[in-house]
């Protein structure tokens, strides 16, 4: 027993020493580097979008550093990001945010992927008064909590598919339409749903199917069977990448005929590549498309960004990557205008942000959401076996006309 106790005491004191020495962590600005922190979903159900986000961040960091970095008080600094994997789990994300701030001494945060995780991290950054620029948390409830240190470069989730309902009503001669909808049970998709409910009320449309889909989404046959039976005018599906893939797979398998199919996350799911012609005519909400005419001096325009991204990572950038890159441009701009590393000065500079990036105009509303940029809709169109996303709304950037209604499966080759 005596030996055991001794061993126990020795190991406890060893751990104590190790922890105490580790506690004296490094700070927000280290030498020539401004250290940003981010918890990203590298594993778990959001892993593919997590990687898109990370690639977007990395691409911007590299580009900004290469083009001279950030100038504060006459000195050039470079960006550096500390990443942790939040495993697509809000609990873990909150814990890691705490860790980044308290142990790694991070004073500026970049957002995680998805609304749920942003919801978990925001209370932590708020508590420590850490400015966070996030690019992937669109849920409206994020912007109504009175958070002062949260800034989102993207439009709120409820705006994602409202336009689609408007389009459907327009095609229906201004009369209300019958809507079938299925949404994943998560913060983001449920917010998209709220947007549809609002739009339905506004246009006098009727919701005939309102289904919830489980989080680990890989089957929605039950909903589709109902759609087949009730023949709605519009089918709306939202459930991140998996939702988009599952919907297209099963709609084509079950040969569900519906005049209009509106979704989210088509580009992140690489629908046009993965499902080719089966995904044709799907209407998708997007924060960004490479054909838009916004410009900045770091990435040029959307098309150039897409080319560079393709070269670097080997795939076409989904909007998740573009908005993530934009987050760093916002930070750079804010640091230079604040001309200081004081957190509150940076925060105040962020409030006053008004800029154009390749991704879109950015100006923050009182809740922290971006109010300067509209959502866009694109439609998957195919020429032979080659499918592409074409912007169809808003008209300012539309490269193609919106194709409606979707031909029946029996008429599609």
């Amino acid at each position: 027993m005596n030996k055991l106790v001794k061993l126990f005491i020795t190991s406890i004191s060893a751990i104590t020493l190790a922890l105490v020495s580790f506690s004296s962590s490094f700070a927000k600005v280290e030498g020539d580097y401004i250290v940003l922190g981010s918890a990203i979903s590298l594993t778990g159900k959001y892993s593919s979008n997590g990687v898109h986000t990370q690639n977007g961040y990395n691409m911007a960091v590299e580009r900004i550093n290469k083009m001279g970095g950030v100038e504060v008080q006459g000195k050039k600094y470079k960006f550096e990001i500390i990443y942790y994997d939040d495993e697509s789990n809000p609990k873990r994300a909150a814990q890691l945010a705490e860790r980044l701030i308290k142990q790694d001494g991070v004073h500026y945060m970049l957002g995680p992927y998805s609304s749920g995780l942003t919801k978990a991290i925001a209370p932590v950054t708020e508590k420590y008064k850490i400015p966070m620029v996030e690019a992937n948390g669109a849920s409206r409830s994020l912007f109504t909590k009175g958070y002062k240190y949260l800034f989102a470069v993207l439009s709120p989730a409820n705006q994602y598919l409202e336009v689609a309902i408007d389009l459907a009503v327009e095609k229906n001669g201004g009369k209300g339409v019958r809507i079938a909808q299925a949404f994943e049970q998560d913060a983001f998709s449920q917010d998209v749903r709220l947007g549809i409910l609002d739009a339905a009320k506004r246009t006098g449309s009727e919701i005939i199917i309102d289904d919830k889909l489980p989080k680990e989404l890989n089957d929605m046959a039950a909903t589709l069977a109902k759609v087949k039976a009730t023949k709605p005018d519009v089918l709306v599906v939202s459930g991140h990448t998996k939702g988009a893939l599952t919907a297209i797979r099963q709609i084509s398998e079950m040969k569900v005929d519906v005049p209009m199919l509106a979704m989210t996350h088509c580009d992140a799911a690489k629908l046009s590549k993965q499902h080719g012609k089966k995904s044709e005519y799907a209407l998708c909400a997007s924060q960004w498309h490479k054909n838009l005419s916004y410009k900045d001096k770091f990435f040029g325009g959307g098309k150039k960004y897409a080319r560079d991204f393709q070269k670097e990572f080997g795939y076409d950038p989904p909007y998740q990557s573009a908005e993530s890159s934009a987050a760093l441009l916002v930070f750079k701009d804010a640091f230079e205008r604040a001309n200081s590393f004081d957190r509150d000065a940076v925060r105040d500079a962020l409030v006053d942000t008004e800029m154009q990036t390749f991704y879109g105009n950015i100006k923050f509303g009182p809740g922290g959401q971006n109010i300067a940029k509209p959502m866009i809709l694109f439609q998957v169109r195919c020429k032979g076996d080659d499918c592409e996303n074409r912007v169809v709304a808003p008209t300012k950037w539309a490269s193609d006309k919106f194709y409606h209604p979707i031909p029946k499966w029996s008429e599609r080759s």
Binding site: S23, D85, D191
Partner: protein
């Protein structure tokens, strides 16, 4: 005997002092320390079922999640309309005053201890008749079902999740929140430990062991096994609910399947920690949870993206090399330290026979 008691006293008071000093010594690690306390509580309460009673349950996560939702709901519902708080979109902002916050969490924790215990009693009455694998599979379903159901109840936020009340803004000290939750969880840990230790000295534990070793014989000896099984599970649920309540407040955001009824992580971790340390021992779950937490916090960030592979390897290693856990392994190596007397002569005689 007295000497051992004295040693125990030194050990316990040392640990308590360390526990009280920890948030000041390692100020930056308060959240991890809070997690550690909660993990130990979960492992210890799981051990009552899986270790002592031999009923491997994956269902304790149900009580943990229930406690989490209950605490938050009570804390909000006492002062504001719950439905408006959780309404998605949430246009209105409600702010708890300092007094409301603490009153709320106090009452909430009380509820989160009692109701899970009652639920455990009711469910236990229904399913504790199952034995072995059947019971394990049945409880596995409990956590999953609860997650899906909670994800559909609008008043607790459904799929949107539930943002728990933020720590009162009137307390300016940014460290206060961390300290509050740490001491809360530390108090829970001490309470749980005292309770489990008390059980270890009681007839109740022997009955649980009898059920584990041979339930039919135990019944034949006149023990009403069902009654004891249910009571045992209710005790676990009581502490699991409290642990969940504390975690909900600490995390600040409750999601139905990822935070509350998180069977995939917490539900598996509590089993793993108890087995790692050695199930069916008092200190095993404590040591197991501590080691596991250090492993997780220390190594996981070094092997980004591969941590679950590492976890898998760890599970395999534990099962193959330490099937009885670390305590079991130590016990086999140094039986005399555990008060087991070995007759050297007899042992030698047996060796020679071979």
């Amino acid at each position: 005997m007295n000497k051992v008691k004295q040693k125990d006293l030194i050990l316990y008071s040392g640990l308590i002092i360390l526990g009280l000093a920890a948030p000041y010594l390692f100020s930056a690690f308060k959240v991890q320390l809070t997690y550690l306390c909660v993990l130990i509580v979960l492992a210890m309460t799981w051990n009552l079922q899986g270790g002592e009673m031999g009923y491997n349950t994956f269902g304790n996560i149900l009580f943990y999640g229930l406690g989490m939702y209950l605490t938050a709901s009570v804390q909000v519902g006492m002062f504001f309309p719950l439905a408006e708080w959780t309404e998605s979109g949430g246009e209105k902002t409600f702010v708890h005053t300092t007094a409301q916050y603490f009153q709320g969490i106090g009452v909430g924790l009380l509820v989160s201890a009692i109701i899970p215990a009652i639920v455990a009693g009711a469910i236990g009455y229904a399913i504790l008749g199952l034995r072995g694998h059947y019971f394990a599979i049945c409880t596995l379903g409990l956590g999953i079902a609860a997650g899906e159901i909670a994800g559909g109840i609008e008043i607790i936020g459904a799929g949107q999740g539930f943002t728990t009340p933020p720590f009162p803004a009137e307390i300016v000290d940014t460290e206060a929140r961390g300290k509050f939750f740490y001491f809360l969880s530390f108090a829970l840990l001490i309470g749980t430990f005292i309770f489990v230790k008390y059980i270890y000295g009681s007839r109740f534990k022997l009955i649980l062991n009898a059920i584990r070793d041979n339930e039919d014989k135990a019944e034949a000896m006149g023990i009403q096994t069902m009654k004891y099984k249910i009571t045992g599970w209710m005790c676990s649920a009581f502490f699991c609910g409290l642990a969940g309540g504390i975690m909900g407040g600490l995390i600040g955001y409750i999601d139905s399947t990822d935070v509350a009824f998180d069977g995939r992580e917490m539900g598996v971790f509590m089993v793993l920690m108890a087995i790692l340390g050695g199930k069916g021992t008092l200190w095993g779950p404590v040591i197991g949870a501590t080691l596991f937490h250090f492993f997780k916090e220390g190594l996981w960030t070094l092997i980004l993206g591969w941590q679950y592979v590492a976890l898998g390897v760890l599970i395999v290693v534990i099962v193959i090399y330490f099937p009885e856990g670390l305590m079991g392994w130590l016990r086999e190596k140094y039986p005399e330290r555990f008060g087991e007397v070995i007759d050297e002569k007899d042992r030698k005689a047996q060796v020679e026979l071979k």
